[in-house]
Symmetry: D2
Subunit: 310 residues, 4 copies
């Protein structure tokens, strides 16, 4: 046979699992989208269609729901670790499991005042509104020996209305852009960071706290950087995270430059200077796209250039 | 000619306008998507292609940007009123203008602590993160005499993890559903409400405060209603708004029943009762869809059954 | 009670039903998305949560699948008629049923040549590729006495690379647009047309043939109109349909003007005239939006200004 | 500094370029979405914000449009090669250019019959309807020495209504799936294949013909494979391409198993056997996801596990 099988994986993608935990009248919610990808000794199913090594994707789905009940969901990382360990250790042909998770955040609905006609405010502890804002992501990979834990976020849209310049760039035959000394800088942050926890013998990070603080470091660095280029801002964000979080060795960003063009109002006899508060056109496409990895000095670069979500 | 022209309108849709207002070092942002639809004496352009009555859609776009500078953006409603009035009063052939607006909310980035290596926390007043959550909407219509102002929201996703039942329904040959005495109730709220302000001689509502409080009333009613049907919850939400806000006479909801099915874990020897905190499968399609109008007694029903966004 | 219930409806939306029909080795496929909306005597469920008049949305879903088996799917219209009649005639509280349907087209996979290593070409009659292109739509409404059948399509993207001009328009203070005597005209056609069949005693149209020919008339009129405005093109399309199809009395279009701007290449010493074959920037937003109804003279205008899809 | 910069790239993404070529009255159209990513000596812009090595993304956009005029668009691959070569050879700091392209297909509008009231059918050669169906993709990478050309497609949805079975799989504690001997097999094909052309000294493939035939081979193999697993079908598709196209050494697929579940109609007294033509529920999520690479024996595996589109 002149063709051979290369890298392959299979599983059930986008299992939407919601877990409610009740603590008396106070409820808690975790809302995940879980994708399973398994690989190992899978030549036969590709070459001949024999399923003798294939745990059905339907079974991987069932496992996700059963594990949510049996093990609970403390964090996407802990839940993914439990799943990945199970598939690799319980199925002989499976050599590697990769679990990808999206998490959607909810916040409690602030209840109405004490004069509510219905019930007392502090009795309503089971009502939630979806927070919107970013989606938290995680990718947990296990090969039976060591772990790779990538945490991340996507869809975090941020904007500075000043403290951004762009000038001093290369000019060639096709350059028409004017330099700008006071522009809007806006982006949708997608970031993935790698924890240096790889071994069951190590103490794992506090996943929840780590996520919350990493997000804050990125937001602060974005806000506090006087920017001469989006690349500089990106590097400051990554550097702030690595310097502040000992459990993280590598972080990669994909950041579109969401252009806000100051509208030319001169034809209508109007000035539109940034310094006076300006009117901008928020463009869709095309957009600049800036992508880079920031590493702890000496750390290995492992996050791939491209990562799809599921 | 055996065919004739019926209802028609035209304009520029989805003008993305961002307005920054500077108050010293503190900046403010409004982020809108504005769609213009004009109608009037437009037979010729349809029958013969003569554009002699046609203000170009490109001009309506320019007007949106110029008005953002000239008049500012205090609220979607005030901005839409300025635009609609302009088109109807300045263009003889235009008999009616309808402005549709989406607004995306931003919140300030909370800055890092006083020990920041960069700059003092309270100096950063120009950094924003998009809030996510619901999109605010407005539709402003003017015919030269009276106003119709519809405010609304879309994409407000809410969930009660208990206090919802569904039983006592009709059973026919095709009914297999089991009754449920403790289910999750979740929906994406789309709502449109009509203000009773119609005349320049009246004092207009405080649009910003009206929006914020109407949203709160809906959330509170959702949270505080012990629900026997999504229709009942919808009606309580609408009724709460009408009873609490004198400036609103009519409200219409479109609310999908976002099904969360309790997973059957018995094949795996696991109980999954709601009372113990359960695991749910969040389904995409199909979904129940509940739509209704709630009116102040005696008010006219004017909001159409279907409203597209733009 | 100072509030009252207005227009309301409920049902199961987006039931995805695929029906395979086998004719020996030759299979046929219909692929629908069916949404049910019922209304009638539904005050109680809104006011008190009593479901005694409520056929569950889950039951309406089951009915869709059972009817696909019992009645087959000859056309979206025939299938929607069977469903609407069932709900109104079998359920006392239901006064009106509205069925909305999307249909996705498939075409057969042309098989490989006679030398195929696998099987003979003409034996493969069960393989399909989704056609893409437009989605066919239908809305069937029944109140127990008469029918309203709206057929339509959405997502039909068309483009003329010449024979389009735009000039002679109104110029006001905000007008900057240059006149154009050779532009691209492109749009995504959404159209809805009303059949004059309303009564079981009349002979219904041949729904399949009517759809195919109506689509062709629109495409031909688009291609063959030398256009001075998108409104003129729209009217020609509608007029062609009404004049050619006796079963149709009214048609409404929503047509975005998908702008293709000729790029200014002069800064690079390049000419970019339309006559020589030009390079265009295909813009996303904003876009002109042209909407109008064309009627058979004397016919009533019944299609609403806005129609959502589901 | 304890952090360092890793892999990075930047450029303008999603430049929407439409090129019309006129051959007398007969026009031709190419409709692309072009994304540029450049990398090289970019430390300074990340560390200090100095743009002295940075060709602005705006300039890369201008280059795309100018090149469409100067070089034309014969194929996505030829166009991407011209762009990538330009950036690497004209800019000292740029060591590598990666161009990603999506192409949308159009077909001519078949004109109306000779009795058209408007103009003769064969005179209309400038009218197009977007084909829908798959998006063609290309990724062209150049480092100044050798080329890597990946061609692909996404969104090609195919379905076999029989000749698919699934049984003989592993059963563990969480397995509930029933074996099926006559099921629907449906998927949305995303595929990327690598050409073995790497050097300007070699004669390049006929990119247009190569694409068209590769797509046909995939469709034929899908239709003609009696399938015991989606993995087997995938391998047959890849193997058919490698065996039939000497210019291709590697192909990778990402194929969701778009589940079509046969509906249980027994509660309604109806049989729903596949052999009689059945009714299916087309599910959204979760879905099986099968991904694998097929290689010419001896070829290197270079296509990454994940590829984002832009």
């Amino acid at each position: 046979m002149p063709t051979i099988l290369g890298q392959n994986q299979y599983g059930k993608a986008e299992n939407r699992v919601v877990k409610i935990t009740r603590n008396g009248a106070t409820h808690h919610i975790r809302d995940l989208n879980v994708s399973v990808a398994l690989s190992g000794d899978m030549d036969d199913v590709h070459y001949s269609g024999s399923n003798s090594h294939v745990l059905p994707t339907d079974t991987t789905k069932n496992t996700v729901y059963a594990f949510a009940k049996e093990h609970g969901i403390e964090s996407p990382e802990q839940f993914g670790i439990a799943l990945a360990r199970h598939f690799v250790t319980s199925q002989e042909p499976i050599g590697r499991a990769r679990i990808r998770i999206e998490e959607y955040a909810w916040e409690r609905i602030a209840t109405s005042d004490a004069n509510s006609r219905f019930i007392g405010a502090d009795e309503v502890r089971h009502s939630f509104v979806r927070k919107g804002q970013e989606t938290r992501t995680a990718q947990i990979t296990y090969d039976g020996e060591s772990w790779e834990i990538l945490t991340g976020l996507t869809g975090l849209t941020v904007l500075n209305s000043t403290n951004s310049e762009f000038w001093g760039y290369v000019k060639d035959r096709y350059t028409t852009l004017q330099e700008d000394y006071d522009r809007i800088l806006a982006t949708d942050v997608t970031a993935v960071w790698r924890h240096n926890w790889t071994d069951d013998a190590q103490r794992p990070p506090h996943w929840e706290k780590s996520y919350a603080q990493t997000k804050q470091h990125m937001l602060h660095a974005f806000a506090e950087t006087y920017s001469l280029s989006l690349q500089q801002t990106l590097y400051q964000m990554g550097s702030r995270v690595i310097n502040s979080r000992a459990e993280i060795d590598e972080i990669r960003f994909s950041m579109p430059n969401k252009h806000h063009f100051r509208v030319d109002l001169e034809p209508f006899g109007l000035k539109n200077d940034a310094a006076d508060g300006a009117v901008y056109y928020a463009a869709d496409r095309p957009y600049g796209l800036i992508e880079a990895t920031v590493l702890r000095d000496g750390a290995e670069q492992r996050i791939p250039v491209d990562m799809t979500n599921l």
